[in-house]
Amino acid sequence: METLLQQTVNGLVVGSVYALIALGYTMVYGILGLINFAHGDVLMVGALVALEAISLLQTHYPELGLVPTLLAGLGVSVVVCMILGYTIERTAYRRLRNAPRLAPLITAIGVSFLLQTLAMIIWGRNYHTFPQLVSTTPIEPVAGVFITPVQIVILVVSAVLMIGLVLLVNKTRLGRAMRATAENHRVASLMGVDTNKIIAATFVIGSALAAVAGVMYSSNYGIAHYAMGFMPGLKAFTAAVLGGIGNLAGAMLGGIVLGLVESIGAGYIEDMSFGFLNSSYQDIFAFIILGIVLIFRPTGLLGERVADRA
């Protein structure tokens, strides 16, 4: 029982990070029909910029407390990623907006390689230790379940950001414009919506979320590295597809479900299959679930509800 609870907590924490990243994929897909494969690498840039900013602050203003340092580092990284997201959209994707679908997709993969290589040149090949500003020492276990302060922060921050994004899309003028653009950007522009601005805003918001996710990811595992964006990017993309790509609530649900399936799958697959399968099938387990969901619900768990997508 303890083990099951622990696995559930593990899954929720991982899942909420996946969900946060998946939102970036799903927002861009909802509006442009483009899988932005560079999204995972924006997360990486976010983590490394934050690392750089925090190291600078710690050297020059050591008297600044832990939390202000972290917030300042996070702020710098969010701003840098927003600029980066805008630049990527402006230079790489905008010109290809009316090109065949394959062209922007391949451009996205190219941008991903470009970001990784630039990061490798700037920050080197080594793994960097990410400063532990929020403790990773577990608090007093409740019912035998160990949870660390940084994991609690991750759960809370993800929840707040997700609710914030849903409110933004559904309740604000910008959100309305985003939904209109998602539905039909030609008609939206005829109605006076500056679609270029809205699409840029989508990239900027998605990149900001990626920066936050990157900082949380690095704080949790204590590492930052130029290739770190690949795995979470891939998992979050899977989560977005699982939930129904283009659908905000779907991305969140998909992220949480994927996290739980992975965690519980890895923990119990051996017992469930009577020792026939083992934890080397951890990822396969997640993809089997994805396969089953897509067979019965080709548009994902929640489907792509056009009115809601953004």
Partner: protein, 370 residues
Amino acid sequence: MKITLVALAVLGLGASAVQAQEVVKLGTAAPLTGTQSHLGKDIENGVRLAVEEYNAKGVTLGGKKVKFEVMAEDDAADPKTATTVAQRLVDAGVKGVVGHLNSGASIPASRIYNEGGVPQVSPASTNPRLTQQNFKSTFRTIANDVQQGLGIGKYAATTLGKKVAIIDDRTAYGQGLADEVEKAVKASGGTVVTREFTSDKATDFLAILTRIKGKTPDVIVYSGMDTQGGPMLKQIKQLGIGAKFITGDGGCTGEIIKLAGDAIGPNAYCTQPGLPLDKMPGGKDFNARFKKRFNADVQIYAPYAYDAASAIIEAMKAANSSDPAKYAPAIGKVNFPGVIGTVAFDAKGDIKDGAVTVYQFKGGKWEPVQ
């Protein structure tokens, strides 16, 4: 007109004087990008240092002065890429290869080197299969996993505790080593309570560690690389697991200490084929030269790469030729004092006398215990 002819003749002479210095290309292949690139660069630098030092001393083969050049290729720690770069090295006419890092890359690449007639000396691949393929010119300067796995398994089961959990990263190296550990644990009277698996790209091990926690092992054996060992140690602490931790050479680095932060303690052990750098006969001096040339610390494999390159060049000197067909048989016969100790190979191509040292984390660094 005459003057022009003389000038041409002089130019011609000049050109032939340059040609008298023959260029011999040595290949090196290791991951120079990706999560293990720091170890790959370590290998490349080891080879560069050896080549630069031999060039400075001057080597004459078959009456011609030769200049060695390094051609470094990135295999991205990937078996498929490894075969591509192996073919590229063979096509570029390299006379010998030092590489690869990962057993999973070395083994498929070794077939291509063998078919292309290029001798290969791996400084880091420890999977036993590499030298069991009956290839005439496949060698390694590092002890193999049969020796190391025996060392880890025996030490874990007899000194650290009877109940052992094993995690491997499903690479040829991780899996091969873990198999040997499992055998050795059972042979030493211990039990393997569970065997778990991850991938060489994962950073989250909470799920498998939670499962391991439920089996209450005395010791967790991790068979994989340092960059994952660090976060793994963190997560062991995060889950409040009190078991001891031991890992093989892939995790026996300064990097794992840096990455684990406050989560590493005297409960952590690791093993290393061969001797510690400062106990290697040429270790201290090598470290100083390496630092001076590259302004970087030796990670693990640089001395092995240096000696691998030296073995190739020494064999060329013994055969007085850089033609692989002529000098390859001489690699098996080399016997010279290298950085890591005496460099000599057995009939299979494994280094003779591959020792294994156990280290414990003490006072901020790995200290040999055995």
